[in-house]
Symmetry: C2
Subunit: 553 residues, 2 copies
């Protein structure tokens, strides 16, 4: 069957010739002969089609391809076969037979005898080749492969070959000569998001525009609506690997420093911090709300002799902010620790922890960072081996010297934060620094005032370069302080801040039975990833983001 | 001043002698003389008291003790001093000067010249001795120490000595001869819970009862109401260290097996699993609820090519169960992974993960386990290097052979679970085993049926010994399964289970774009700790437990 043209195509050709004929007496006879010829051709074509169909049914290689029926995917047997991860497909496997499972990333038929199938697995891609050949690959098998819908899950068995010239468009520089191919799960033919479209960088769009080409741009909302497709892009897989590394390094570092991981309740009776909006709910007839931070409970753990604690868990903010950096639910990385003398002990932990984390990401996660960078280019974060510390007043002075007037007892607004980031970058060559001794008035009631100037506080914020290129911006990423550990003083501070002390009495009472001086800090996991990678939207670093308008998927 | 008796004591002695006097003429004169003597004595006493007061004010050692004023605890300075952790106070520090910070665990004055102060830090205790001596320790200093309320935070500077006989009642076998002592934070004198009372084992109560003594028993509710005191007991510190180790080992093991840690939203639009009660809330005008498990989202991560994922996070159950093993909020350890052929791949992970975890706890956490065991005695968990796997039918057969009739297509009730645990322990000598191929009808709708018997499913539960001694009980601790990955079949299964498919359409839709066969499991962190340590109540292993009646602290 290998090189026979389709009989219906031949018939169509005959029909086309027919329509051009001119009727005459002589021609009529000729026509009759022609009609007879056509009839015979049609008969032959029908016979050939029947023969082809019979041959297709009887394809001796028919068991080497096809859709796997569900029953065979219901844990029918353990065959003992091993699937080679695509990442391990290297030249050293040349001539070896391998079994792989991946997604049909791209399917391209070349004539009827050849199909190229690019498989994808966790960001790795490999080209699989089906070429019709006697006893190995039938034409029907090639046709089956070429009919696979993109994103289908496919098992391929074949032999590894190493082409003489580099393969463009796949991560792996080997090919698989396919011997068997089975579809495990067929994707819908019409994808709401094409992975290739969703993977394009801004530079690709610009190049296409310059050459008059048109590329499909996938909007943020479409991405989030079809997040199961969107997160398949190499950049997104990279982002969530980096997120995993950040929280893992956070834990690893703190465990080595004698911290204990705790889990505090998210369902609480009062509002966890005064002021901000909380999500309220009914708890078995009692009014309750979702914790806006583990602040009170992590401090209670310190009063409970845990010494040093940390938590990784969701925090909930019912704020109406619809910005690039706010979410209604995010992952908080929280730390609280006894301090012996000075809140600088907390800043020391922040310093060493984040420098160790950034070092780790740069040293061990280049593959993931590159995957992100290919779609969303960014420069490596500039940070110092020992993090720069400026007092709030020093920061204000730098801004004043640059001609910006700042309220000495107010907070920095976004604009002045960014300007200060720029000044710090110019002067100290770092995009990561701490600002401490904030005005007391702009910090939460439980913040310890300075011993010498009660209008200031033993508190700090940490800034990191903001999104975008060039990154002249600077955003607050970590907030921390020494806490008030004296119950009477804490009550007084709460009152002074307009908080109804009776609503937080169990919190205040927890300091009545001896409380060590202590401090801590909190940071949002999604923000660390966003700003380390200079991404422009926190929705890119939250797996299933929640904002005032989005509660699904 | 060192060895002078108090002048008021001398005056009192004189008074006492006076009352015994008999009045007579001769005696009257004598009496007058005596009165004059007394007057002189009183004068002398007053003068001495004045002198003493002056001396107290002028105590040349006055700067060596006292309450630290708040201003000195507001990060006034970094002195560069180092505090030695109590845990490191060993004989090798003999004759060295150390600075320590801890709680006043116990204070005992012996006469006026000596005070013993036991300091406690993270479960370690050390005896500090104050003996009046010229130029080192004044009587006022001893008095100050003896007046410290229990649980106050205290800084002590002193010299390490090694007594010739073992010290009873402290973990550290050295003493500190105090040179300086400062109170950092004074505890309220009346403690709602005495740490010693809260630390007693059942055996201590029994011994006290036998000898007619009476000990204060601290009830569960009192403990939870004053959790900041309750968690200071050695057993509780041990429990939360073990909890930290369990979740850390869980992560460490899975990261090495190529799993990615994810964070899925707790605020969701529908109910995460049909049936059970959920906490409902208003989300910016939309009806929302708290996730009862990360089930759907972790599966979506698998559809998003993450391959293998895990999550450690809160799960919420609005159930009204008021049992020893249910909480309204607990920490879920969740796993989801692609499977190539068989749900046994998931069971393999469970097996290796938990055996590695138990090995780690037994090998590296003996100190913490001993601290728990001293208050709540338990035998080491019996488990096999390769976890026993029985099919549900095999389990039913074992029960039937023991004379217990079981519905072959129903679930095991608590009683039969416990009986089976006992039979398994007797036959296989393990308190940790898996039961798989459960009846389909008793599993969630997304569970994959068996290929050969559709009334059964590719699911499993893992059982561990229950609470109490002797531990004949057995409790379900882990639940897992292969999931249905075919959207049409999933819809049909949901409908068959009475679920309104439209409420879970985004979940079902996530399988339409190619979905690898996959499975996973979930386990409650608090239950693992509770049952590994054979504790009798899950409230003991939750830092701030939430049950239908408890929303604070």
């Amino acid at each position: 069957m290998a090189s026979t043209e389709s009989p219906t195509a031949a018939a169509a050709e005959a029909d086309a010739a027919d329509s051009k004929a001119v009727i005459s007496k002589k021609a009529a006879k000729k026509e009759a002969a022609k009609a007879e010829k056509l009839r015979r051709q049609q008969e032959a074509a029908a016979a050939a089609a029947a023969a082809a169909a019979a041959a297709e049914e009887a394809d001796p290689l028919a068991t080497n391809y096809g859709d796997v029926p569900l029953v065979d995917l219901q844990s029918k047997a353990v065959s003992g076969r091993t699937w080679t991860p695509l990442a391990r497909l290297e030249a050293e496997l040349k001539d070896q037979s391998v079994l792989v499972r991946g997604r049909a990333h791209n399917v391209r038929a070349v004539g009827k005898n050849m199909t190229f199938l690019v498989l994808r697995e966790r960001g790795y891609t490999v080209q699989c080749v089906l070429t019709v050949s006697l006893e190995l690959v039938s034409r029907q098998m090639v046709k089956f492969a070429s009919g696979l819908s993109r994103e289908s899950i496919v098992d391929v068995e074949g032999v590894v070959t190493v082409p003489s010239s580099p393969i463009k468009g796949t991560t792996q520089q080997v090919e698989i000569q396919v011997r068997k191919i089975y579809c495990i799960s067929r994707s819908a033919a019409n994808l709401p998001i094409n992975i290739e479209d969703a993977s394009r960088s801004e530079a690709e769009f610009e190049r296409a525009e310059q050459t008059g080409g048109q590329l499909v741009r996938v909007g943020q909302d479409t991405r989030l609506n079809y997040r199961v497709l969107d997160i398949r892009t190499p950049a997104n897989l990279g982002i969530f690997c980096i997120q995993c590394q950040v929280s893992n390094k956070f834990k690893e570092f703190l465990l080595l420093e004698d911290f204990i991981e705790i889990h505090t309740p998210k369902l609480i009776a009062g509002s966890s911090e005064g002021g901000s909006a909380v999500f309220k709910l009914d708890y078995k007839g009692q009014p309750a709300c979702l914790a806006q931070s583990p602040q009170h409970h992590k401090q209670m753990a310190i009063c409970g002799d845990f010494g040093r604690v940390f938590e990784v868990g969701p925090v909930f903010r019912a704020e109406d902010s619809y910005t690039h950096r706010h979410l209604c639910e995010f992952t908080g990385l929280d730390v609280e620790m006894e301090i012996k003398e000075h809140y600088s002990e907390v800043m020391d932990i922040v310093d060493r922890l984040f420098v160790a984390m950034f070092d780790h990401l740069n040293q061990n996660c280049q593959k993931e960072l590159d995957a992100i960078r290919r779609q969303y280019p960014f420069e490596p974060l500039k940070y110092l081996p020992k993090t720069l510390r400026l007092t709030f007043q020093e920061g204000v002075q730098m801004l004043q010297e640059a001609g910006i007037e700042i309220d000495l007892l107010g907070d920095l607004n976004t604009e002045s934060e960014r300007k200060l980031g720029q000044l710090v970058l110019e002067k100290y060559n770092t995009e990561f620094y701490m600002l401490h001794r904030y005005p007391l008035a702009v910090r939460p009631f439980y913040t310890m005032p300075c011993y010498d100037e009660p209008a200031y506080s033993n508190s700090f914020d940490v800034f990191i370069r903001g999104e975008g290129l060039p990154s002249l911006y600077s955003e607050e990423i970590i907030s921390g302080a020494q806490r008030v550990h004296v119950p009477e003083f804490l009550s007084a501070r709460a009152e002074a801040c307009g908080i109804n002390v009776s609503t937080i009495s169990s919190y205040i009472d927890s300091f009545r039975y001896g409380s060590p001086p202590h401090g801590g800090f909190g940071v949002g996991l999604e923000r660390v990833v966003m700003l380390f990678c200079a991404l422009n939207n926190i929705r890119k670093t939250s797996l299933f983001p929640r904002d005032p308008q989005r509660l699904t998927p």
